[in-house]
């Protein structure tokens, strides 16, 4: 883990410590670290144990479950089938749409079954993620730039952006469902007669608009916090040197805000990949708005074990995306979190 941090993190001198590296060091320092280590393990133990119970145990049990057959009535033969080891059949059910055949063996899942929806749900999830995160990044950046300026009423704007963030997503979904009702204010204001939840493109965009409304403020505040770390003198110097506004944005703002921006995009991406509340309430997953999370929930009552396989697949997808962000796109959350970025200001 520590090797991924790159250069030795710079710490504030007051706390006096350097991160632990293996290798020769003073005996006194070793003792200090040992005693702090004992303290730390006592202080951390309750949190680690609690997270072990509420996260690690369910993950392991989901993985175990995913290799078990679901007991229940066979949908095709109508006979009761026993559970038992399933090998990878729960996974192939989702990934390759292989459903159990009456006489043993497998057949392609018939259309309409949950198994046949895996790839479309994956597509929908990524579609939502890419579109909403892109929109939120652009809008959030713009909002952050405005909020970073000094003008009268700035604190009003900064307070207002917290309103969508504070409204629970379930309420947001109902609110936008009402706005997008056929006779609702949405159609009225824009003089349109769109049946928003009636077909694929409007239904998807209803979810996208509601999500963008709800979460752009979070993005804007994270980017704003990043913008405020840039010293004003840098801009002054660039102005003196005759840099245009666009050049200042591209050469100063973007590179300096990039660490905060990448973390904001990572947070939002992981959040969007598990999107559930909005499409579940707003469109009930109809018209190709079923995300992976909705598919898992729909599967639960038809068979835990198959649902466990699907949620494990979802988890792995999200993990891979997070890994790509951290490894290749430079969203170094731990470094940001530990204050190591301070040295780069």
């Amino acid at each position: 883990m520590a090797t991924e941090l790159g250069p030795t993190p710079v710490k504030e001198p007051a706390s006096g410590g350097t991160p632990i590296h293996h290798g020769p060091k003073g005996v006194g320092e070793d003792n200090a670290i040992a005693s702090q280590g004992k303290w730390a393990s006592w202080l951390l133990a309750p949190t680690i144990v609690a997270l072990g119970i509420v996260i690690v145990y369910p993950i392991i049990s989901a993985i175990v479950m995913s290799f078990q057959k679901d007991a229940g009535l066979d949908p095709v033969t109508g006979l009761f089938t026993e559970g038992g080891p399933a090998g990878f059949s729960n996974y192939t059910n989702w990934l390759f749409q292989q459903c159990a055949a009456p006489g043993g063996g497998t057949v392609a899942c018939p259309p309409g079954t949950l198994g046949s929806q895996f790839w479309s749900a994956t597509g929908t999830t990524f579609y939502f993620t890419i579109v909403t995160v892109t929109l939120e990044t652009i809008l959030g950046f713009w909002m952050a730039i405005i909020m970073a300026r000094t003008f009268r009423g700035r604190s009003l704007v900064r307070a207002a952006v917290l309103v969508p963030w504070a409204i629970p997503t379930a309420v947001t979904a109902q609110l936008w469902l009402f706005i997008f009702a056929f006779e609702g204010i949405g159609n009225k204001l824009f003089n349109t007669t769109i049946l928003w939840t009636g077909s694929e493109i409007p239904a998807r965009w209803a979810v996208i608009i509601a999500d963008t409304w709800k979460t752009t403020p979070f993005m804007a505040l994270l980017i704003l916090a990043g913008l405020q770390m840039i010293p004003a003198e840098v801009y002054e110097a660039a102005k003196v040197d005759g840099a245009s506004a666009w050049q200042r944005f591209r050469m100063i703002t973007l590179p300096l805000v990039k660490p905060a921006l990448m973390v904001a995009i990572l947070f939002r991406t992981l959040d969007a990949l598990r999107m559930f509340d909005l499409p579940y309430i707003l469109t009930e997953g109809s018209n190709n708005t079923t995300t992976l999370s909705i598919l898992v929930v729909n599967q639960i009552r038809q068979g835990f074990n198959s649902a466990a396989a699907l949620s494990t697949i979802t988890f792995i997808i999200i993990f891979i995306v997070a890994f790509i962000f951290v490894r290749f796109l430079g969203a170094n959350v731990v470094e940001q979190q530990t204050g190591a970025g301070k040295g780069k200001k």
Binding site: A2, L5, S15, P19, I20, I33, G37, W39, A40, W42, L43, L44, P46, I48, A50, V54, I55, P58, M65, I146, G153, R158, A159, V161, L162, V163, W165, A166, I167, P168, A170, V171, Q174, L175, F178, A181, E183, K188, L189, W213, L221, L224, A225, G226, A260, V263, F267, D271, R274, F276, D277, S293, V296, V297, F304, A308, F315, I318, V334, Q336
Partner: protein
């Protein structure tokens, strides 16, 4: 003489142009600010206006409040169509407070260790906690559903509290860790020089100073528990459901007609306390929200 006048005139022109540019820039800023205000507040405004509008005029699209009534708030609490909004409010408060208290009690120690102590595997622990905070709830729901079915916990409060800890506790730890980093720890050193043990210094000196940070973290923790929907929608029943589930399933007199005005009233009730809390503690909340991402 003439050269000097010309020079002065040119300087004047230059200054005026600069002033003009600045004026335009500030006009543009105000227009943008107005657009942001409209975008953020208009839908929320519409919720409140609808909440106060007579149910017979649900689809009235006049922008100002019309047909004002409090009936919708009565309907929201009415239990005759199977809605239990009042009970759900109490449930959400109970679940939210319990989750917040547990997470704070556990999290404050972990955050202290992460912010103040040097120990092996620190980055591993930080990484684990950050990873946990981004962990998809959907990966928990299946095993928990099966486990709670087996032990008869579906629809109990503990079945709703325990999963919420999985995302509120990591949030608490990392928010508080960044708050703790910014505190004047010299005072702790001073207390120790004066003869306090590290534990005493923490209790008597640091805790009082940390109170605002802990309070802010508590608000953020409470809000994230209050907003939870996915797990509650599957693991609760009519008696224990939180407000998010109650609002999502809000039923009207006719099954085909969504009782929007009552839903908007319920939404307003659920939202207003949060919005007031957030606006009052705006600065601290923003600091807490962005704590993990910059610095």
């Amino acid at each position: 003489m003439t050269a000097a006048t010309e020079l002065r005139a040119e300087q004047d022109r230059g200054r005026k142009a600069a002033q003009n540019r600045e004026k335009w820039a500030s006009v543009r800023t105000y227009i943008s600010a107005a657009v942001i205000l409209f975008w953020c507040l208009a839908p929320a405004y519409w919720m409140v206006v609808t909440a106060f509008r007579d149910v017979g005029y649900t689809y009235d699209t006049s922008l100002l409040p019309t047909h004002i009534t409090l009936d919708n708030f009565r309907t929201a609490f009415d239990t005759s169509f199977g809605n239990r909004f009042g009970q759900a409010l109490l449930n959400s408060v109970f679940i939210g407070v319990t989750v917040t208290v547990i997470s704070l009690v556990l999290g404050v120690f972990a955050a202290y260790a992460l912010a103040r102590l040097n120990f092996r595997f620190k980055y591993l622990v930080l990484g684990f906690i950050l990873g946990a905070s981004m962990f998809p709830g959907v990966a928990l729901i299946t095993p928990l559903f099966q486990l709670f079915t087996n032990i008869g916990w579906i629809g109990t409060y503990q079945a709703l509290i325990i999963p919420n800890i999985s995302f509120v506790l990591p949030l608490t730890v990392y928010t508080m860790t960044s708050f703790f980093r910014e505190m004047p720890w010299e005072l702790e050193e001073a207390a120790r020089v004066d003869g306090c043990t590290q534990g005493q210094a923490f209790r008597r000196v640091i805790m009082p100073l940390a109170a605002p940070a802990i309070f802010t973290t508590a608000i953020l923790a409470f809000i994230s528990s209050w907003n939870e929907f996915l797990i509650a929608s599957q693991l609760s029943n009519d008696a224990t459901q939180p407000v998010t589930v109650a609002i999502a399933n809000f039923a009207g007199a006719q099954p085909q007609q969504i009782p929007y005005t009552a839903i908007m009233a319920a939404g307003t009730i659920v939202t207003i306390p949060l919005v007031i809390l957030v606006l009052v503690f705006q600065r601290k909340i923003v600091a807490g929200l962005t704590a993990g991402a910059v610095k």
